[in-house]
Symmetry: C2
Subunit: 417 residues, 2 copies
Amino acid sequence: MSAPKIDGERLWRSLMDMAQHGATPKGGVCRLTLTDIDKAGRDTFVEWCRNEGMTVRVDKVGNIFARRDGRDPAAKPVVTGSHLDSQPTGGKFDGVYGVLAGLEVVRSLNEQNITTDAPIEVAVWTNEEGSRFSPAMMGSGVFGQAFTLDEILDKRDTDGKRLGDELERIGYAGDLDPTGHEMSAYFEAHIEQGPILEAAELPIGVVTHAQGQRWHEITVTGMESHAGPTPMAVRKDALVGAAKIIQRVNEIGHAFQPGACATVGYIESMPNSRNVIPGRVFLTTDLRHPDDETLTAMDRDLKTFCETLAEEASLTIDVKDFWYFPPTPFDEKLVALVGQGAEIHGLPSQKIVSGAGHDAVYVSRRVPTAMIFTPCEGGVSHNEIENATPEDLEAGCNVLLHAMLEAAGWRREGHNL
Amino acid sequence: MSAPKIDGERLWRSLMDMAQHGATPKGGVCRLTLTDIDKAGRDTFVEWCRNEGMTVRVDKVGNIFARRDGRDPAAKPVVTGSHLDSQPTGGKFDGVYGVLAGLEVVRSLNEQNITTDAPIEVAVWTNEEGSRFSPAMMGSGVFGQAFTLDEILDKRDTDGKRLGDELERIGYAGDLDPTGHEMSAYFEAHIEQGPILEAAELPIGVVTHAQGQRWHEITVTGMESHAGPTPMAVRKDALVGAAKIIQRVNEIGHAFQPGACATVGYIESMPNSRNVIPGRVFLTTDLRHPDDETLTAMDRDLKTFCETLAEEASLTIDVKDFWYFPPTPFDEKLVALVGQGAEIHGLPSQKIVSGAGHDAVYVSRRVPTAMIFTPCEGGVSHNEIENATPEDLEAGCNVLLHAMLEAAGWRREGHNL
């Protein structure tokens, strides 16, 4: 008999429907975590799950787990999922695809009368993007014990609103202990958010591990003064210092190829007035590399540069380590199931390293984990023009279905297999 | 008989009292134009003027003219003044000194029973700083016909509030035609906002002319994308492009010495998220030079650099001319009166060029004008630590008194001169 398959059209329709929550004029999505729009997206997902007969539970950090029971009530669930929140100018697929691919797996199982030994669960992790509340991957991070529940609930957005209060407000402060939830395996399907699969014309990336990341917060302090009568020679222009750091970060990215990424994504200059020499600039850096030693070397390069610059330019430069996680290898057996799924469905694939952080990275600290990548147009993500083809998304979901069924144990009811 | 003198202590007390409106914890002032705090400062000034028997009129752009009548009702007034608004983190002297020095002149004339032929007026110009509403020097600019009244009333702050509405709200939308007000001479006393007088240990700068200025608005457009999986080689990072422009602007300032100033004071990066490659950056530049040809060369250098950078980095860079005014020579006769005032009061002085824009620059388009500079500590201005000594401020005000009396014609009543 042939391998079970999902319904690619139904998956696509769900993605388009979900994209209505926070739709932007340019065709993207703005669904910042724990906003009214995020609530609406969560409510839609929960409704869809209940329509499939699933049981929905929410933990104390707002992670949602929708469960389809298995035959063995004692078995730990095989889980898949991702996130529903987006960047301020995000796309329709980043995160959402992993969640709705999980739902599509369940819909297909129901439709095809397939039962599993272990339960199947679809997870929605709170605040993966880290745009409104920093850092990113909060919900999975609490599950993976990278953060404590209390520290996360106390995080505030730039308006001073507390994460815990916002969870209560939108009705997603559940009572489940976020670290008490057990799983036997975790899979996550996600668009690649990079150009590698598209360039290679492959629908499936078998993700072997995730890049390490080091994030910094840098404050450059000079001396604010009037832009007219302050001679160039006596200036302490914090923005000129910041500009040199931005360029150096970019140079570091180019210098540590292959594999390095280095970005300044956030900058704030004070007092930010046209005719005042900036006195203070705050900026953030994001360094990534699949090799931990190289990542350390990148970090060292940045810090040495800032020390030298501070002396030369008479600026004070404070470099704070904000976030670190080491390169993460995924579970060999589950990675093999993903590769097998591609083979069985006749889908060309290659092994790939995840450049982005994903909920799977934190989940993998406690549960055997693997990821499936599918191409996205031009490799573009975190952008309203983010795009992917229905065919590629269907392919990734079929691979997910295979991997989850193999991990959970399964049979078609009413058939001799 | 000796030359009339002002009361330095009284001037200092007025400065300290005015600094209470918008006082910051660091000893500075935040009195953004047309806010409630600006209204409070204006109200105090008007009250002080009325206590001196002056007549107060307000024009349609909110400029205040407080008048002390002369003996000749047909004579055009000799005017002095400056502004009461401040930068977001401004000091106690920038602008305020010129206004309260004018008031101190009137107080001294009243006290010493001195009458003038022409009326004496003290002017407060609306929104000199240009922080809340851009561009700067709006009130004097409308007077000087650099801007029309209607275009200025329609300007909006970053919250979308309209200048004309804010004028109404705080009760300073007067009925005087801003371009109809006639003057025979205009003087402005101001702290230098640069380090030259302090370094030369001179209390008085006789300002001969003002630097030319060219301001630009630059928008760098690249491609926003995920900071993790987007390889360095394919990025179009708008902030890296902006960083190169910031450095070039700084280099232009150093290259066109002596006399050049070049600053990027404002920057805004979009979407400004830690893990997104910036897709668009908006920044402003401020180029200044006392020589118009050199200023043009600086402008050309910047534009050529941006063109080349756009091509090399595959970015779109739009450079908009935002504001230009040529180097402005002041009126020779009035400048000579200022030099004479310093001499008569035994105050060492030097000729100096104004690096900053001042209301006097626009006023000089329609009225013979001169300026008096006094030192400020470390040359620092547009900063909460801006400072000046009571002695220097007293010296500048005595020079102002002399120049205004000579321009207006005067006598002590009840004395044989």
